[in-house]
Point group: C2
Chain length 161, copies 2
DNA sequence: AAAAAGTAATTCACAAGTAAATTATATTAG
DNA sequence: CTAATATAATTTACTTGTGAATTACTTTTT
């Protein structure tokens, strides 16, 4: 395999034969694939009404029919609270979401997609699935499932709700 | 599996049974694991002399004994040129790297680790390997190799030098 | 050899992200 | 019940990242 990580590994093995580099082969590639996929997504969203992080907020809301609170969005998108507030302010003034204070606890806010927000989320999500399918094309359906399973086992302990 | 992505998938399947969500199981987890691993790395580097992106520059330089040019660092770290310049300026004034104009083409610059930079890179890299090993612990050595192999095949077409 | 085109690094102007402080509300302890 | 503590969202002050313009060359064309 001649990706950047295999060159990386080769250099390190020669320089530091004392180190156990076995994790780099897997984790280095996870990090690199994610960075490249994020670039591909951003290119695909060029000219769209929202950026990639904003799209991630829309996608999280799309699959929660009753909406979510900012705190949950922060966790789902792995961002800071401050950045969630900024994205919500931007999405609200673009007419893609609404924010309504909760009755039972007025510190909290319920965030919901507007109709326009839902339509946009659906359009962009379909395009995102296409981009992901293109990138994953080198693997068979079985292999993709195998990959998903291995990753799920790594994630389970560190990605608890 | 009860990670965030499996809940994500479950919701989407109910909402949009028309979509082919098979890619999300794998790619969604790649993106999520990378984001969580980056957080873990940043926590681990708290109090260190460099940030995670700066560490990535040091690591790329560490495995290139003759140094690299900014352009190559930009590609290796998947960043913008402007951001590479900023990081190099910062690392240079911290005494961790040197920048020397090349003889054969004076537009270019050779970036090299100082002794202190190399020592720091080695220390931080060893700690990074430990963190990665901890995260990957749910998988056997064989499974980690299998994961690496699947990812390498996805990366090969999109990660050419 | 001069002009035009191309390229590497940097600078500039601005956008996006975050930790820490603040505001508003709810919960717990005395 | 009041004071102290805790929590959610936001604001503030600042850091980091980036596209586009600039600078300093090098290469190609005529």
């Amino acid at each position: 395999m001649s990706d950047a990580v295999s060159r990386f590994l080769h250099s390190w093995t020669r320089l530091r034969p004392d180190l156990d580099l076995s994790t780099v082969a897997a984790m280095g590639r996870v990090l690199r694939l994610a960075a490249l996929m994020n670039n591909i997504t951003e290119d695909g969203l060029a000219g769209a009404e929202v950026t990639r992080p904003e799209f991630e907020v829309l996608a999280a809301l799309r699959r929660s029919p009753d909406g979510l609170r900012p705190r949950q969005l922060t966790r789902e998108t792995i961002a800071s609270g401050a950045s969630t507030t900024k994205r919500l302010t931007r999405l609200e003034s673009a007419g893609l979401i609404t924010r309504t204070p909760l009755e039972r606890d007025r510190r909290e806010v319920q965030v919901r997609l507007t109709d326009r927000g839902r339509t946009l989320a659906d359009t962009l999500f379909a395009a995102q699935l296409d981009r992901e399918a293109t990138v994953l094309a080198p693997l068979s359906t079985d292999e993709q499932a195998q990959l998903a399973d291995l990753l799920a086992r790594v994630l389970a302990p560190i990605d608890r709700a």
